[in-house]
């Protein structure tokens, strides 16, 4: 896992571009990340926090690609995020053991194929979930930062407000984990 190029299709591709590489149309830099890969490191977390999943949008041909070299460079970080997602995603029916299996035991390398089909199935499920939370997180980020304002005038302020609200929910009081 995390040894190949990552591609975001359709609207998610557009979102990532806006969040990290800037949209040429506006001639303004309204990015809040420096590179695309950084979006990948944050989006899955946001997806889980807001319990948002999304599927790839195949409607348009546009996509945003992250080169394999870049992915491999961040492989450790991405794996870490993957583990966190698997352990903390919201699913009341999911056993802790299964979570740990997904996070630590499964070997997601292509070279390894499973003799036990149920394991294979679960592996695929895990990877699918991760992708879906990633895309969901991308959507949430886009919504929170750009808020449907075509001028994108307050993007930084919105980002700040997003951070602030999260801080107030999570850090300001020593409360239980709050996920939306």
């Amino acid at each position: 896992m995390f040894d190949k190029a990552i591609t975001f299709k359709g609207k998610h591709g557009a979102y990532v571009r806006e969040l990290a590489k800037g949209v040429q149309i506006l001639e303004k830099d309204v990015t809040i990340f420096k590179t695309n890969i950084q979006v990948c490191l944050v989006a899955p977390i946001i997806g889980v926090l807001f319990n948002r999943r999304a599927t790839a949008d195949k409607s348009t041909a546009e996509d945003t690609k992250i080169m394999p070299e870049t992915v491999i460079k961040h492989q450790e970080d991405l794996s870490y995020v993957f583990k966190v997602v698997m352990l903390s995603l919201k699913d009341e029916d999911l056993s802790d053991e299964k979570r740990i299996d997904r996070a630590f035991r499964y070997n997601y390398s292509d070279k390894v194929s499973e003799s036990d089909p149920s394991i294979e199935e679960d592996k695929l499920e895990a990877m699918k979930l991760f992708d879906e939370y990633t895309l969901g997180g991308i959507e949430v980020l886009h919504e929170k930062v750009y808020k449907d304002d075509a001028t994108r005038e307050h993007y930084l302020e919105n980002a700040y407000e997003f951070i602030r609200d999260f801080y107030n929910d999570v850090y300001a009081e020593e409360t239980e984990i709050v996920t939306e």
Partner: protein, 665 residues
């Protein structure tokens, strides 16, 4: 002189016979004639000049109405006439002036002959016809031609009345000083073609011709000095004008001072703005960097807590076989037998079981992985995350800077406004410098003239001495010298007398002007006529008697001032006429109640509403009879103030360029 009526016939655009009766009422002494520009206002005022003196200021001299001139058949005659009836000192005068025009066979219309008639009806009804060549005298005694200009005014003259040159001429006229001036000129021993000059010419020359040489040099230098003095006067005037312009420019500049200061300020503010913009840019960048590097650990916290809980609940993670890696299993499967020695055949149950184990073995052993995970997670949780605070402080700073930039934009806009007008300041300043340069140059030239005049005077003196020396050489010369001395004394006396009378009159005029000025204009300003006939409005500050401020004049104020002059001069002119006619041998001259009219064209053209009503309020008192030709729009403002003093009202109805009619209202 009280005007009763004027009857015009075919006079310029007044086609046919038209009569205007003037109000002779003592109280309602104003006659108003309304007319717009080009309707014939000026023509009307000029008709008085023509009736009385046979002269007009028209550019085209033909008086016959154009329509008549075009319509009349060849070889026919048409008449232009003006009949003026007025009352003076209990007598009634009827003055008629006529010109006959004839159309020649070539179609050209020319004046044929001019006639004038004057008949006087005395208070008991006896009529007397004045002889044609006596008429001018009689009229001049009533209203001298050279003073008539102060009783018949057209609009332009009003504007110029207080200009230096016209003022000077007015005073001279009023004083009847031309005669004095001529006498002095005539005698002036210093000049060549005068009485004095003639005397000098009669002196016999000495044997060696020294006297003649000296006389020649003397006269040459006299002429040269005359020329130089004239040239200097011109330069003086130039300098005066230049100095006035310099003052104007200086005042203008004062408005625009601090241009440099503004520019510096603008630059400073722009620098601030740029720095602020730079800072905002870099702060935004910093925020991005922070987000890029710290957002993950910021957001991940709740998930880490949950993750660790999950791991804790599971207890000790099934380590699996320590250090058993996928590679190890591959090796075992490949070699075909287990650690315990059992054969492993591909596809067998043993094989499959070991294969299964492989999926539980990531490149790292699970326990290790978990241990690393826990360690990293706990580290993250422990780390005092100031991500939010940092972002907040950057955002706050950015907001402040943006606010500042907006405020500076406002400041820049203000400065810009001032600078724009400031560009004009540059040209004003350049003009100022140029004028200063001119003034300096002119001063230099004046100095040259003064020096040259000095040299001439020296030469005059020297040669005069030589001449005098030679003059006493014989008896005849001595006699002539005595005559010359007499001439000099008379000349000196005349000049002095002129100066005294001039000052007297100027002062009297000044007083009268101020009387009327203050009647119209309430305030601390007064009119001052200087020795050189420049006119100023000054403010006398009672607290500091020697401190006077010169003030700018608005156009309306200008008109008020000029009007004060008209009335001042008029009064003095009146006095002069009266005093001239007083019998010198009359021990107790009766106070003459002599009335005079004032005929004006458009006295208000440049005044505003406020000033119009001020002028209007004093109009009735300025002259005994006021005949006023005004434009409708100006009358609007005057009307309210003086309609109760209007005895008669007319309107000039302009039908075409060639036809106007005066209609009563």
């Amino acid at each position: 002189m009280l005007l009763k009526y004027m009857k015009l016939n075919n006079f310029r655009q007044y086609k046919g016979e038209q009569t205007i009766d003037f109000s002779t009422d003592k109280e309602k002494n104003i006659t108003v004639i309304l007319g717009d520009n080009t309707s014939g206002k000026t023509t009307f005022v000029q008709s008085f000049n023509w009736a009385l003196y046979g002269q007009t200021d028209f550019i085209t001299k033909k008086l016959l109405n154009m329509d008549i001139a075009v319509e009349m058949p060849v070889n026919s005659k048409r008449e232009v006439s003006a009949e003026l009836v007025f009352e003076h000192e209990e007598n009634q005068y009827r003055l008629v002036r006529k010109v006959l025009y004839m159309k020649k066979s070539n179609g050209v219309v020319d004046a044929f002959g001019e006639t004038k008639e004057l008949s006087i009806l005395d208070k008991i009804g006896k009529a007397k016809v004045v002889e044609a060549d006596e008429i001018d005298n009689v009229i001049n005694n009533i209203l001298p031609k050279n003073l008539s200009g102060y009783f018949f005014f057209d609009g332009e003259k009003i504007e110029k009345i207080s200009e230096k040159k016209d003022m000077k001429d007015a005073v001279k006229n009023l004083l009847g000083l031309q005669a004095l001036e001529s006498a002095a000129k005539h005698i002036n021993p210093a000049n060549v073609s005068t009485v004095g000059g003639k005397f000098r010419g009669a002196i016999q020359d000495s044997a060696d011709g020294e006297f003649t040489r000296a006389k020649k040099a003397f006269e040459e230098n006299i002429r040269k000095k005359e020329d130089l003095v004239k040239e200097k006067e011109i330069l003086d005037e130039e300098l005066q004008k230049c100095r006035e312009s310099i003052e104007e420019a200086r005042n203008e500049m004062a408005q625009y001072k601090n241009l440099d200061g503004l520019r510096k300020e603008e630059k400073k503010i722009k620098d601030y703005q740029n720095r602020a913009k730079e800072m905002i840019k870099s702060d935004k960048d910093m925020i991005k960097s922070r987000i890029s590097s710290e957002a993950q650990s910021f957001f991940i916290r709740p998930l880490l807590e949950k993750s660790l809980k999950v791991l804790k609940r599971e207890g000790d993670i099934h380590e699996g076989i320590p250090n058993l890696t996928s590679k190890s299993i591959e090796h075992i499967l490949h070699r075909g037998y287990c650690l315990c020695g059992t054969k492993i055949e591909e596809g067998s149950e043993v094989y499959n079981h070991i294969k299964k184990e492989q999926s539980y073995v990531p490149p790292q052993s699970v326990g290790t992985a978990v241990r690393f995970f826990k360690r990293d997670s706990e580290k993250t949780l422990k780390h005092n995350n100031d991500f939010y605070q940092t972002v907040e402080s950057y955002i706050k700073r950015i907001k402040e800077a943006e606010k500042d930039i907006l405020a500076w934009d406002k400041d820049l806009a203000k400065i810009d406004e001032q600078l724009m007008s400031g560009e004009k300041a540059d040209s004003v300043r350049r003009n100022f410098e140029r004028l200063r340069l001119n003034a300096a140059r002119t001063e230099g030239k004046i100095q040259e003239k003064i020096n040259a005049i000095g040299r001439c005077e020296q030469a005059i003196e020297i040669n005069n001495t030589i001449m005098e020396r030679n003059m006493t050489a014989n008896k005849r010369n001595q006699e002539i010298k005595r005559y010359l001395d007499y001439a000099q004394a008379i000349y000196t006396y005349l000049v002095k007398d002129y100066e005294i009378k001039e000052t007297e009159l100027r002062t009297a005029l000044n007083t009268k002007v101020n009387d009327l000025f203050h009647a119209m204009y309430h305030g601390k300003r007064s009119v001052v006529i200087n020795k050189d006939y420049t006119v100023e409005l000054v403010v006398a500050d009672e607290a500091h008697a020697s401190y006077e401020m010169k003030l700018d004049e608005s156009r309306g104020l200008e008109t008020v001032k000029n009007f004060a002059f008209i009335s001042g001069i008029l009064e003095i002119a009146k006095d002069k006429i009266i005093s001239k006619n007083v019998d010198l041998f009359d021990d107790e001259p009766e106070p003459q109640e002599v009335l005079y009219p004032l005929v004006m064209d458009a006295p208000f053209s440049n005044a505003d509403e406020k000033h119009v009503s001020k002028i209007s309020s004093v109009l009735p008192s300025v002259a005994d009879q006021v005949i006023m030709v005004v434009m409708e729009k100006d009358w609007k403002y005057a009307q309210d103030t003086i309609s109760n003093k209007v005895g008669k009202q007319y309107r000039i109805d302009k039908k075409s360029e060639t036809e106007s009619y005066i209609k009563g209202e």
